[in-house]
Symmetry: C2
Subunit: 262 residues, 2 copies
């Protein structure tokens, strides 16, 4: 028996890698090691493209996020591309913003790889749900203020606000809403209906990057503040007493107290 080495003799395999929230230094060492052995990198819109420099020169870099105009690859198309590249080129790194399993549809990709018996591995990433508030020094949990945090999507498969947001608004948990900025008014209304008009809220756009913007307020004021500050996607929304720990919150609270007294 002899071993022949040709360009397409590489064993197909797939690694889902969480790229983190945007700052290239927030990828893990393990994620970098995977990139360094990639033959193909399939990457999303929310991934910082500087990370592609970790891949070898020969590796193909394929963008599967939004393209010019509004066209997006469907999940089916991404799944097929991923398997096709693995069979033809070897090691495919599927580089995804944040963590692959936090609204990342990572499991669907694993599942598809399994259909073709292609070994697949997951390397977790820093999720913006925890890290983006954290980088603003807003802890998702804090003794005396919050014993839990609940991460919900603002946009479900049907395009609606998740019914879980309605449940979350009733609880004491810190509530982190991802992909909800375009529905901020609707979501704030849900909290108002629970009598949480004065609950502190932060909206953070492009967390961890040079374009980071933060707005801090309360349920009653956050929609106006976000509009005034032209906050757009990608942004996360944090509802909870922990937001009162943000340095911008205290002076604002004093201002409102004065207004209320006046």
């Amino acid at each position: 028996m002899s071993i022949t080495t040709t360009t397409n003799s590489k064993e197909p395999r797939i690694t889902l890698v969480g790229a983190g929230p945007g700052d290239t230094d927030l990828i893990t060492l393990k994620g970098v090691k995977a990139l360094k052995t990639a033959d193909v990198v399939l990457y999303d819109a929310l991934v910082n493209e500087e990370l592609l420099e970790f891949a070898p020169e020969h590796a193909a870099r394929v963008y599967v996020g939004k393209r010019s105009g509004d066209h997006t690859y469907s999940q089916d198309a991404v799944n097929k591309l991923m398997v096709d590249y693995a069979i033809n080129y070897g090691h495919v790194v599927r580089l995804k913003g944040g963590d692959p399993f936090v609204f990342g549809r990572g499991y669907e990709e694993l599942d598809f790889a399994a259909l073709y018996n292609i070994p697949a591995q997951v390397i977790p990433g820093i999720s913006s749900s925890i890290a983006v508030p954290g980088l603003q020094q807003i802890p998702v949990t804090h003794r005396g203020l919050s014993e839990s945090f609940w991460v919900v999507t603002g946009t479900t498969a049907s395009g609606k606000v998740s019914t879980d947001v309605y449940e979350a608004a009733r609880t004491k948990a810190t509530v982190v809403v991802l992909m909800g900025i375009h529905k901020l008014a609707e979501i704030a209304e849900i909290f108002k209906n629970e009598g949480k008009n004065n609950l502190p809220v932060a909206v953070i756009q492009s967390g961890s990057t040079r374009d980071e913007k933060v707005v801090v307020g309360i349920v009653d004021t956050i929609v106006e503040l976000a509009e005034e500050n032209k906050i757009t996607s990608p942004a996360i929304i944090v509802f909870g007493e922990v937001v009162s720990l943000h340095p911008k919150f205290q002076p604002m609270k004093e201002f409102y107290d004065i207004v209320a007294e006046g």
Copy 2:
């Protein structure tokens, strides 16, 4: 004016670094960069000590977790050590398991540093709450199964199960309980009281490390399974339909279906 350089002329500063769940490769590039410029590293019990190798030779490595016997440094003692070292030695890296703000009491440390006007920065870490299920290929969110996940502590400051666990058991969220393994029976009871006897549950010990152990069952069976398999701390518990995606779940489900039919 002249600049004098002495061993204690370094500007005091503090960096809280999330070390991730255990696998040394799950620290971020940014965390490694911080360690490489540390004069002192203060590290916890759940931190993989191999990470200390990233610190310069001259850096002091100070363990502030549990020591022989049951003695633990109090949070106050850690805060004071941290500030004292920063003033006397320069850059203190406070290396914490997981993410500093997920039940890590990181904000208390930031707050204490601020009292002394010592600049402090946070570098997020991979939280076991998301990554440990993820490495077992259990996604905390998955289309059709879960639109949210709720992370709760099993052990509050008073030593009790958080009341948030009671609320979480009522919802459709994937519920991840940290620091709850010693109260597994009590927590399972809470889910039983909500009629969730058949809800899939996973218990994962020492996730991401060589000692990793996983047990998969349902609310009614998980306590016995965890005992049989001698699961101990540190371990996380995951309640939710997403656990049914774990490869060990399907054959077990078929077994129970057969038993039920028999």
